[in-house]
């Protein structure tokens, strides 16, 4: 029974991943894509967690912790980019 549930979970997570990917690809704006990336980080955590249950191995949980801690740094960087690029846009660049 649990195995089926887990497979359903995997299916749901995979679909979510695809949805996130679609958003990432169609954008249209950069922040839209960043949100998609952020979402994918959550999916990743959920996926890893489910996989721990699936394989009865808890060693992957650390990977989930790292994603939780680190992924937002990437988002922060993007946010900064969005802002900085805005501020710099009056520089006379090519």
């Amino acid at each position: 029974m649990l195995n089926t549930i887990i497979l359903i979970t995997f299916g749901a997570l995979s679909l979510s991943l695809v949805a996130g990917l679609i958003r990432l690809m169609i954008g249209p704006s950069l922040p839209d894509r960043v949100v998609a990336l952020d979402l994918i980080a959550y999916i990743l955590i959920a996926f890893i967690a489910t996989y721990c249950v699936f394989t009865d191995t808890s060693d992957f949980i650390d990977a989930a912790i790292v994603v939780a801690l680190i992924a937002f740094l990437g988002t922060t960087a993007f946010a900064r980019y969005v802002l900085k690029a805005g501020q710099n846009s009056t520089d006379d660049k090519i």
Partner: protein, 130 residues
């Protein structure tokens, strides 16, 4: 017994993740996508993590799961805040049903200096050479 718990946690967790994903895919503007992603995403990930702690029933796993959830709760809103704030200031289009914008003065101030990027952020077809 615990299997049922695990099943419920997994199903509900993946449900919220799916919700977040659909939200990101379907909702009309950036702000609203972020509502979906941040809340449902955090919740979904958190629930599946809890499933792990139930499945293993070890203190070391439990503490790590809790730590992960704490980290998520700490970081998710900040990420959302930063993205929303940045996108807003460079002129992100809001949904047509947005009935009020009390921050628009500051945004306009900021915007006068960021025309170029505004266009870039909103353009549907940004392209440079490949």
């Amino acid at each position: 017994m615990s299997e049922i718990f695990i099943a419920i946690l997994l199903l509900s967790g993946s449900f919220f993740v799916v919700v977040a994903a659909i939200g990101v895919l379907r909702l009309p503007d950036l702000m609203m996508k972020m509502h979906a992603s941040t809340k449902a995403g955090t919740l979904g990930a958190g629930l599946t993590l809890l499933a792990v702690s139930v499945a293993f029933d070890e203190i070391s796993v439990l503490t790590r799961v809790i730590a992960t959830i704490l980290f998520l709760l700490l970081t998710a809103p900040i990420a959302a805040h930063l993205i929303a704030r940045s996108a807003y200031y460079v002129g992100m289009d809001l949904w047509e049903n947005t009935i009020i914008d009390e921050l628009k003065n500051e945004r306009a101030e900021n915007n006068s200096a960021t025309n170029g990027v505004t266009a870039e952020m909103n353009s549907k077809e940004e392209s440079d050479a490949r």
